[in-house]
Symmetry: C3
Subunit: 158 residues, 3 copies
Protein backbone atom coordinates (compact mmCIF):
# COMPACT_ATOMS: atom_id res chain seq x y z
CA UNK A 1 0.00 0.00 0.00
CA UNK A 2 0.90 3.64 0.03
CA UNK A 3 3.29 4.92 2.65
CA UNK A 4 1.56 6.06 5.82
CA UNK A 5 1.06 9.68 6.81
CA UNK A 6 4.10 11.59 8.00
CA UNK A 7 4.60 11.58 11.72
CA UNK A 8 3.69 14.46 13.97
CA UNK A 9 5.99 17.42 14.17
CA UNK A 10 8.20 17.40 17.23
CA UNK A 11 7.44 19.48 20.29
CA UNK A 12 8.98 22.92 20.47
CA UNK A 13 12.09 23.19 22.56
CA UNK A 14 11.95 24.43 26.10
CA UNK A 15 12.79 28.07 26.73
CA UNK A 16 14.48 29.95 29.51
CA UNK A 17 12.58 33.08 28.64
CA UNK A 18 9.51 32.48 30.71
CA UNK A 19 11.28 32.10 34.07
CA UNK A 20 11.40 35.60 35.48
CA UNK A 21 11.85 36.62 39.10
CA UNK A 22 13.46 39.90 40.06
CA UNK A 23 12.96 42.70 42.53
CA UNK A 24 14.72 45.97 43.31
CA UNK A 25 13.50 47.98 46.27
CA UNK A 26 14.65 50.89 48.40
CA UNK A 27 14.03 52.72 51.64
CA UNK A 28 12.54 56.15 52.13
CA UNK A 29 13.84 56.76 55.66
CA UNK A 30 15.99 55.42 58.49
CA UNK A 31 15.22 51.80 59.34
CA UNK A 32 12.92 52.25 62.33
CA UNK A 33 13.27 48.87 64.02
CA UNK A 34 15.91 46.25 64.74
CA UNK A 35 15.82 42.46 64.70
CA UNK A 36 12.86 42.32 62.34
CA UNK A 37 12.89 42.25 58.51
CA UNK A 38 13.61 45.62 56.90
CA UNK A 39 10.47 46.63 55.02
CA UNK A 40 11.61 48.37 51.86
CA UNK A 41 8.90 50.67 50.57
CA UNK A 42 10.28 52.18 47.35
CA UNK A 43 9.95 50.06 44.23
CA UNK A 44 12.31 50.17 41.28
CA UNK A 45 11.16 46.79 39.96
CA UNK A 46 8.87 44.13 41.39
CA UNK A 47 6.78 42.97 38.44
CA UNK A 48 6.35 39.44 39.72
CA UNK A 49 5.58 40.66 43.26
CA UNK A 50 7.99 38.13 44.73
CA UNK A 51 9.21 40.79 47.17
CA UNK A 52 6.48 41.35 49.74
CA UNK A 53 6.47 44.83 51.20
CA UNK A 54 4.25 43.78 54.08
CA UNK A 55 6.59 41.12 55.45
CA UNK A 56 9.74 42.71 54.00
CA UNK A 57 10.73 39.32 52.59
CA UNK A 58 11.50 37.94 49.16
CA UNK A 59 9.62 34.67 48.77
CA UNK A 60 10.90 32.18 46.21
CA UNK A 61 8.23 31.00 43.74
CA UNK A 62 10.52 29.62 41.03
CA UNK A 63 13.14 27.25 42.43
CA UNK A 64 16.66 27.92 41.22
CA UNK A 65 19.85 29.85 41.76
CA UNK A 66 19.43 33.50 42.78
CA UNK A 67 21.68 36.54 43.11
CA UNK A 68 20.98 39.07 45.87
CA UNK A 69 22.68 42.40 46.51
CA UNK A 70 22.20 45.33 48.87
CA UNK A 71 23.68 48.81 49.24
CA UNK A 72 23.22 50.68 52.49
CA UNK A 73 23.75 54.30 53.54
CA UNK A 74 25.54 54.34 56.91
CA UNK A 75 24.40 57.39 58.87
CA UNK A 76 23.56 58.40 62.45
CA UNK A 77 25.25 55.28 63.90
CA UNK A 78 27.01 52.05 62.96
CA UNK A 79 25.25 49.85 60.41
CA UNK A 80 24.88 46.20 61.40
CA UNK A 81 22.91 44.16 58.92
CA UNK A 82 22.38 40.48 58.35
CA UNK A 83 20.91 38.68 55.38
CA UNK A 84 18.55 35.93 56.41
CA UNK A 85 17.52 32.79 54.57
CA UNK A 86 14.64 31.03 56.31
CA UNK A 87 15.25 32.39 59.81
CA UNK A 88 19.00 31.86 59.70
CA UNK A 89 21.40 34.79 59.35
CA UNK A 90 23.89 33.71 56.70
CA UNK A 91 25.70 36.95 55.83
CA UNK A 92 26.73 39.98 57.89
CA UNK A 93 27.71 43.52 56.96
CA UNK A 94 29.18 45.87 59.53
CA UNK A 95 30.25 49.48 58.84
CA UNK A 96 31.14 51.97 61.59
CA UNK A 97 29.85 55.53 61.44
CA UNK A 98 31.83 58.59 62.48
CA UNK A 99 30.43 62.09 62.62
CA UNK A 100 30.43 63.99 59.31
CA UNK A 101 31.54 60.85 57.50
CA UNK A 102 28.49 59.20 55.90
CA UNK A 103 29.55 55.86 54.43
CA UNK A 104 28.21 53.23 52.08
CA UNK A 105 28.22 49.50 52.76
CA UNK A 106 27.17 46.67 50.47
CA UNK A 107 27.00 42.94 50.07
CA UNK A 108 25.94 40.27 47.62
CA UNK A 109 25.44 36.53 47.59
CA UNK A 110 24.32 33.69 45.33
CA UNK A 111 21.97 31.12 46.84
CA UNK A 112 20.09 28.08 45.63
CA UNK A 113 16.47 28.33 46.71
CA UNK A 114 13.49 26.02 46.77
CA UNK A 115 9.94 27.30 46.30
CA UNK A 116 8.82 28.84 49.57
CA UNK A 117 12.28 29.82 50.76
CA UNK A 118 12.47 33.38 52.07
CA UNK A 119 15.35 35.86 51.98
CA UNK A 120 15.46 39.23 53.72
CA UNK A 121 17.65 41.79 55.49
CA UNK A 122 17.48 42.97 59.07
CA UNK A 123 19.41 45.22 61.40
CA UNK A 124 20.85 43.30 64.34
CA UNK A 125 22.05 44.43 67.76
CA UNK A 126 20.70 45.75 71.04
CA UNK A 127 19.87 49.27 69.90
CA UNK A 128 16.27 50.29 69.29
CA UNK A 129 17.21 51.50 65.82
CA UNK A 130 20.25 51.10 63.59
CA UNK A 131 22.36 53.20 61.26
CA UNK A 132 20.80 52.15 57.96
CA UNK A 133 19.61 55.42 56.54
CA UNK A 134 17.82 56.81 53.51
CA UNK A 135 16.21 60.03 52.40
CA UNK A 136 15.50 61.67 49.06
CA UNK A 137 19.20 61.95 48.14
CA UNK A 138 20.52 58.83 49.91
CA UNK A 139 19.32 55.45 48.80
CA UNK A 140 19.53 52.15 50.64
CA UNK A 141 18.49 49.28 48.40
CA UNK A 142 17.93 45.55 48.17
CA UNK A 143 17.74 43.71 44.84
CA UNK A 144 17.68 40.13 43.67
CA UNK A 145 17.01 38.04 40.61
CA UNK A 146 16.70 34.47 39.38
CA UNK A 147 19.90 33.52 37.64
CA UNK A 148 19.28 29.88 36.70
CA UNK A 149 15.86 28.29 37.07
CA UNK A 150 15.81 24.70 38.34
CA UNK A 151 13.59 23.16 35.68
CA UNK A 152 11.70 20.11 36.89
CA UNK A 153 12.29 16.97 34.83
CA UNK A 154 8.62 16.92 33.78
CA UNK A 155 8.99 20.35 32.17
CA UNK A 156 12.25 19.33 30.51
CA UNK A 157 10.55 16.38 28.82
CA UNK A 158 7.49 18.32 27.77
CA UNK B 1 1.95 -0.01 4.23
CA UNK B 2 5.42 1.23 4.90
CA UNK B 3 6.03 3.23 8.02
CA UNK B 4 5.39 6.93 7.56
CA UNK B 5 8.19 9.40 7.09
CA UNK B 6 9.79 10.59 10.28
CA UNK B 7 8.17 13.70 11.71
CA UNK B 8 9.73 17.07 11.18
CA UNK B 9 12.37 18.04 13.61
CA UNK B 10 10.93 20.19 16.36
CA UNK B 11 11.29 23.92 16.01
CA UNK B 12 14.39 25.17 17.67
CA UNK B 13 13.53 26.29 21.15
CA UNK B 14 13.20 30.01 21.47
CA UNK B 15 16.46 30.91 23.04
CA UNK B 16 17.70 33.55 25.37
CA UNK B 17 21.14 32.99 23.96
CA UNK B 18 20.94 35.51 21.21
CA UNK B 19 19.78 38.39 23.39
CA UNK B 20 23.00 39.91 24.69
CA UNK B 21 23.47 43.38 26.09
CA UNK B 22 26.16 44.11 28.66
CA UNK B 23 28.72 46.76 29.41
CA UNK B 24 31.36 47.29 32.06
CA UNK B 25 33.30 50.54 32.01
CA UNK B 26 35.62 52.49 34.27
CA UNK B 27 37.21 55.89 34.81
CA UNK B 28 40.84 56.83 34.37
CA UNK B 29 40.75 60.01 36.45
CA UNK B 30 38.65 62.25 38.71
CA UNK B 31 35.26 63.08 37.19
CA UNK B 32 35.94 66.51 35.72
CA UNK B 33 32.42 67.93 35.52
CA UNK B 34 29.19 67.92 37.48
CA UNK B 35 25.55 67.74 36.40
CA UNK B 36 26.39 66.06 33.10
CA UNK B 37 26.68 62.32 32.35
CA UNK B 38 29.92 60.76 33.58
CA UNK B 39 31.86 59.65 30.52
CA UNK B 40 33.57 56.41 31.42
CA UNK B 41 36.61 55.85 29.21
CA UNK B 42 38.04 52.48 30.27
CA UNK B 43 36.38 49.40 28.79
CA UNK B 44 36.21 46.03 30.47
CA UNK B 45 33.38 44.82 28.25
CA UNK B 46 31.22 46.60 25.68
CA UNK B 47 30.91 44.11 22.80
CA UNK B 48 27.47 45.29 21.71
CA UNK B 49 28.49 48.98 22.02
CA UNK B 50 25.30 49.76 23.93
CA UNK B 51 27.33 52.00 26.25
CA UNK B 52 28.27 55.12 24.31
CA UNK B 53 31.48 56.72 25.52
CA UNK B 54 30.72 59.96 23.69
CA UNK B 55 27.45 60.65 25.50
CA UNK B 56 28.35 58.64 28.59
CA UNK B 57 24.98 56.89 28.38
CA UNK B 58 23.82 53.30 28.07
CA UNK B 59 21.16 53.18 25.38
CA UNK B 60 18.72 50.29 25.43
CA UNK B 61 18.47 48.40 22.13
CA UNK B 62 16.86 45.20 23.40
CA UNK B 63 13.78 45.87 25.54
CA UNK B 64 13.68 43.97 28.78
CA UNK B 65 14.73 43.90 32.42
CA UNK B 66 18.23 45.17 33.17
CA UNK B 67 20.58 45.14 36.15
CA UNK B 68 22.91 48.10 36.70
CA UNK B 69 25.65 48.52 39.30
CA UNK B 70 28.36 51.06 40.07
CA UNK B 71 31.31 51.26 42.44
CA UNK B 72 32.91 54.64 43.14
CA UNK B 73 36.16 55.71 44.77
CA UNK B 74 35.43 58.62 47.14
CA UNK B 75 38.45 60.91 47.25
CA UNK B 76 39.26 64.65 47.41
CA UNK B 77 35.71 65.54 48.47
CA UNK B 78 32.24 64.09 49.12
CA UNK B 79 30.81 61.88 46.38
CA UNK B 80 27.28 62.75 45.27
CA UNK B 81 26.04 60.65 42.40
CA UNK B 82 22.68 60.04 40.84
CA UNK B 83 21.60 57.37 38.40
CA UNK B 84 19.42 58.75 35.64
CA UNK B 85 16.83 57.04 33.49
CA UNK B 86 15.67 59.27 30.65
CA UNK B 87 16.46 62.62 32.26
CA UNK B 88 15.07 61.66 35.66
CA UNK B 89 17.34 60.94 38.62
CA UNK B 90 15.95 57.78 40.17
CA UNK B 91 18.71 56.69 42.57
CA UNK B 92 21.17 58.62 44.75
CA UNK B 93 24.44 57.67 46.39
CA UNK B 94 26.11 59.97 48.90
CA UNK B 95 29.38 59.25 50.71
CA UNK B 96 31.29 61.85 52.72
CA UNK B 97 35.05 62.15 52.40
CA UNK B 98 37.42 62.89 55.26
CA UNK B 99 41.13 63.49 54.89
CA UNK B 100 43.29 60.35 54.72
CA UNK B 101 40.18 58.20 54.60
CA UNK B 102 39.50 57.22 51.00
CA UNK B 103 36.16 55.40 50.84
CA UNK B 104 34.19 53.26 48.42
CA UNK B 105 30.50 53.76 47.60
CA UNK B 106 28.27 51.61 45.43
CA UNK B 107 24.75 51.09 44.21
CA UNK B 108 22.68 48.81 42.04
CA UNK B 109 19.20 48.70 40.59
CA UNK B 110 16.96 46.60 38.36
CA UNK B 111 14.90 48.47 35.75
CA UNK B 112 12.55 47.53 32.94
CA UNK B 113 13.58 49.39 29.80
CA UNK B 114 12.09 49.97 26.39
CA UNK B 115 14.21 50.34 23.28
CA UNK B 116 15.65 53.85 23.25
CA UNK B 117 15.62 54.31 27.03
CA UNK B 118 18.88 55.71 28.38
CA UNK B 119 20.59 55.13 31.73
CA UNK B 120 23.63 56.96 33.07
CA UNK B 121 25.38 58.33 36.14
CA UNK B 122 26.21 61.90 36.99
CA UNK B 123 27.67 63.88 39.85
CA UNK B 124 25.17 66.34 41.31
CA UNK B 125 25.63 69.47 43.39
CA UNK B 126 26.90 73.01 43.11
CA UNK B 127 30.62 72.27 43.00
CA UNK B 128 32.55 72.49 39.75
CA UNK B 129 33.82 68.95 40.27
CA UNK B 130 32.91 66.10 42.61
CA UNK B 131 34.66 63.49 44.68
CA UNK B 132 34.36 60.54 42.29
CA UNK B 133 37.96 59.58 41.75
CA UNK B 134 40.04 57.07 39.79
CA UNK B 135 43.66 56.48 38.90
CA UNK B 136 45.74 53.45 38.01
CA UNK B 137 45.20 51.77 41.40
CA UNK B 138 41.69 53.08 42.17
CA UNK B 139 38.83 52.09 39.95
CA UNK B 140 35.41 53.69 39.67
CA UNK B 141 33.13 51.59 37.49
CA UNK B 142 29.68 51.31 35.95
CA UNK B 143 28.29 48.02 34.63
CA UNK B 144 24.97 46.72 33.41
CA UNK B 145 23.42 43.79 31.64
CA UNK B 146 20.19 42.49 30.18
CA UNK B 147 18.67 40.05 32.61
CA UNK B 148 15.41 39.08 30.89
CA UNK B 149 14.66 40.11 27.32
CA UNK B 150 11.09 41.20 26.58
CA UNK B 151 10.41 38.98 23.59
CA UNK B 152 7.74 40.29 21.26
CA UNK B 153 4.83 37.91 20.71
CA UNK B 154 5.71 37.59 17.02
CA UNK B 155 9.12 36.19 17.95
CA UNK B 156 7.61 33.87 20.50
CA UNK B 157 5.31 32.32 17.91
CA UNK B 158 7.95 31.94 15.24
CA UNK C 1 -2.00 0.43 3.75
CA UNK C 2 -2.06 1.32 7.40
CA UNK C 3 -0.87 4.74 8.47
CA UNK C 4 2.83 4.88 9.13
CA UNK C 5 4.31 5.15 12.57
CA UNK C 6 4.34 8.62 14.07
CA UNK C 7 7.47 10.59 13.30
CA UNK C 8 10.20 11.01 15.83
CA UNK C 9 9.72 13.71 18.38
CA UNK C 10 11.56 16.89 17.47
CA UNK C 11 14.91 17.61 18.98
CA UNK C 12 14.73 19.63 22.15
CA UNK C 13 15.30 23.32 21.57
CA UNK C 14 18.69 24.67 22.45
CA UNK C 15 18.41 26.04 25.90
CA UNK C 16 20.34 28.43 28.03
CA UNK C 17 19.20 26.39 30.97
CA UNK C 18 21.97 23.87 30.89
CA UNK C 19 24.79 26.40 30.96
CA UNK C 20 25.36 27.05 34.64
CA UNK C 21 28.44 28.48 36.26
CA UNK C 22 28.25 30.44 39.50
CA UNK C 23 30.10 30.74 42.76
CA UNK C 24 29.70 32.79 45.92
CA UNK C 25 32.36 32.46 48.58
CA UNK C 26 33.46 34.26 51.74
CA UNK C 27 36.28 34.61 54.21
CA UNK C 28 36.36 33.45 57.80
CA UNK C 29 39.24 35.65 58.97
CA UNK C 30 41.69 38.40 58.00
CA UNK C 31 43.47 37.68 54.71
CA UNK C 32 46.76 36.27 55.97
CA UNK C 33 49.00 36.90 52.95
CA UNK C 34 49.59 39.52 50.28
CA UNK C 35 50.41 39.23 46.59
CA UNK C 36 48.91 35.75 46.30
CA UNK C 37 45.32 34.78 45.46
CA UNK C 38 42.90 35.21 48.35
CA UNK C 39 41.66 31.75 49.30
CA UNK C 40 38.03 32.13 50.25
CA UNK C 41 36.97 29.28 52.54
CA UNK C 42 33.27 29.85 53.23
CA UNK C 43 30.85 28.62 50.57
CA UNK C 44 27.47 30.14 49.87
CA UNK C 45 27.23 28.52 46.42
CA UNK C 46 29.71 26.56 44.35
CA UNK C 47 27.68 23.71 42.84
CA UNK C 48 29.77 23.46 39.69
CA UNK C 49 33.04 23.70 41.65
CA UNK C 50 34.37 26.30 39.23
CA UNK C 51 35.82 28.22 42.17
CA UNK C 52 38.79 26.28 43.49
CA UNK C 53 39.43 26.82 47.18
CA UNK C 54 42.92 25.37 46.94
CA UNK C 55 44.20 27.86 44.38
CA UNK C 56 41.72 30.60 45.34
CA UNK C 57 40.87 31.03 41.65
CA UNK C 58 37.73 30.82 39.57
CA UNK C 59 38.54 28.75 36.48
CA UNK C 60 36.34 29.19 33.41
CA UNK C 61 34.91 25.93 32.06
CA UNK C 62 32.10 27.36 29.95
CA UNK C 63 33.28 30.14 27.63
CA UNK C 64 31.14 33.25 27.70
CA UNK C 65 30.45 36.57 29.37
CA UNK C 66 30.74 36.60 33.18
CA UNK C 67 29.84 39.00 35.97
CA UNK C 68 32.08 39.16 39.06
CA UNK C 69 31.56 41.12 42.26
CA UNK C 70 33.27 41.41 45.64
CA UNK C 71 32.49 43.10 48.95
CA UNK C 72 35.29 43.60 51.46
CA UNK C 73 35.38 44.55 55.15
CA UNK C 74 38.11 47.16 55.67
CA UNK C 75 39.59 46.71 59.14
CA UNK C 76 42.97 46.88 60.92
CA UNK C 77 44.59 48.73 57.99
CA UNK C 78 43.98 50.02 54.48
CA UNK C 79 42.46 47.55 52.01
CA UNK C 80 44.29 47.27 48.68
CA UNK C 81 42.85 44.64 46.39
CA UNK C 82 43.24 43.81 42.75
CA UNK C 83 41.17 41.54 40.55
CA UNK C 84 43.31 39.39 38.31
CA UNK C 85 42.52 37.77 34.99
CA UNK C 86 45.24 35.36 33.90
CA UNK C 87 48.11 36.92 35.83
CA UNK C 88 47.19 40.48 34.94
CA UNK C 89 45.64 42.84 37.50
CA UNK C 90 42.76 44.51 35.67
CA UNK C 91 40.81 46.20 38.47
CA UNK C 92 41.84 47.88 41.73
CA UNK C 93 39.96 48.74 44.89
CA UNK C 94 41.52 50.93 47.56
CA UNK C 95 39.85 51.95 50.82
CA UNK C 96 41.68 53.64 53.71
CA UNK C 97 41.09 52.54 57.27
CA UNK C 98 40.94 54.85 60.27
CA UNK C 99 40.67 53.72 63.86
CA UNK C 100 37.13 52.94 65.05
CA UNK C 101 35.81 53.38 61.53
CA UNK C 102 35.39 49.97 59.91
CA UNK C 103 34.47 50.44 56.25
CA UNK C 104 33.14 48.41 53.36
CA UNK C 105 34.58 48.43 49.85
CA UNK C 106 33.28 46.69 46.75
CA UNK C 107 33.76 46.24 43.05
CA UNK C 108 32.29 44.46 40.07
CA UNK C 109 33.18 43.79 36.46
CA UNK C 110 31.93 41.99 33.37
CA UNK C 111 34.48 39.98 31.41
CA UNK C 112 34.44 37.71 28.39
CA UNK C 113 36.28 34.51 29.21
CA UNK C 114 37.56 31.54 27.27
CA UNK C 115 37.72 28.06 28.77
CA UNK C 116 40.75 27.90 31.03
CA UNK C 117 40.82 31.60 31.88
CA UNK C 118 41.25 32.29 35.58
CA UNK C 119 39.92 35.15 37.70
CA UNK C 120 40.82 35.88 41.31
CA UNK C 121 41.40 38.56 43.94
CA UNK C 122 44.57 39.38 45.81
CA UNK C 123 45.83 41.96 48.27
CA UNK C 124 48.66 44.03 46.84
CA UNK C 125 51.36 46.12 48.47
CA UNK C 126 54.49 45.72 50.55
CA UNK C 127 52.87 44.80 53.84
CA UNK C 128 52.94 41.23 55.09
CA UNK C 129 49.16 41.29 55.48
CA UNK C 130 46.41 43.63 54.35
CA UNK C 131 43.26 45.15 55.73
CA UNK C 132 40.72 42.75 54.20
CA UNK C 133 38.98 41.38 57.25
CA UNK C 134 36.25 38.93 58.19
CA UNK C 135 34.89 37.25 61.28
CA UNK C 136 31.56 35.77 62.28
CA UNK C 137 29.73 39.10 62.01
CA UNK C 138 31.76 40.71 59.19
CA UNK C 139 31.72 39.09 55.78
CA UNK C 140 34.12 39.63 52.91
CA UNK C 141 32.88 37.90 49.77
CA UNK C 142 33.60 37.11 46.13
CA UNK C 143 30.90 35.98 43.71
CA UNK C 144 30.58 35.45 39.99
CA UNK C 145 28.31 33.92 37.42
CA UNK C 146 27.98 33.13 33.75
CA UNK C 147 25.76 35.72 32.15
CA UNK C 148 25.80 34.71 28.47
CA UNK C 149 27.33 31.43 27.33
CA UNK C 150 29.30 31.54 24.09
CA UNK C 151 27.59 28.68 22.29
CA UNK C 152 29.72 27.03 19.62
CA UNK C 153 28.12 26.99 16.17
CA UNK C 154 27.99 23.19 16.22
CA UNK C 155 25.77 23.28 19.31
CA UNK C 156 23.58 25.99 17.82
CA UNK C 157 22.87 23.84 14.77
CA UNK C 158 22.16 20.67 16.69
CA1 LIG D 1 32.61 58.22 53.99
CA1 LIG E 1 37.74 54.43 54.25
CA1 LIG F 1 32.80 53.40 58.16
Amino acid sequence: GFPGNPGLKGARGESALSYHSAFSVGLSELVPATNVPIRFNKFFYNDQHHYDDISGKFRCVLPGVYFFTYHLTVYTKDAKVSLFMNDKAIMFTFDQYQETNVDQASGSVILRLEAGDEVWLQVYGDDAFGGVYADNTNDSTFSGFLLYPAIPVSARRR
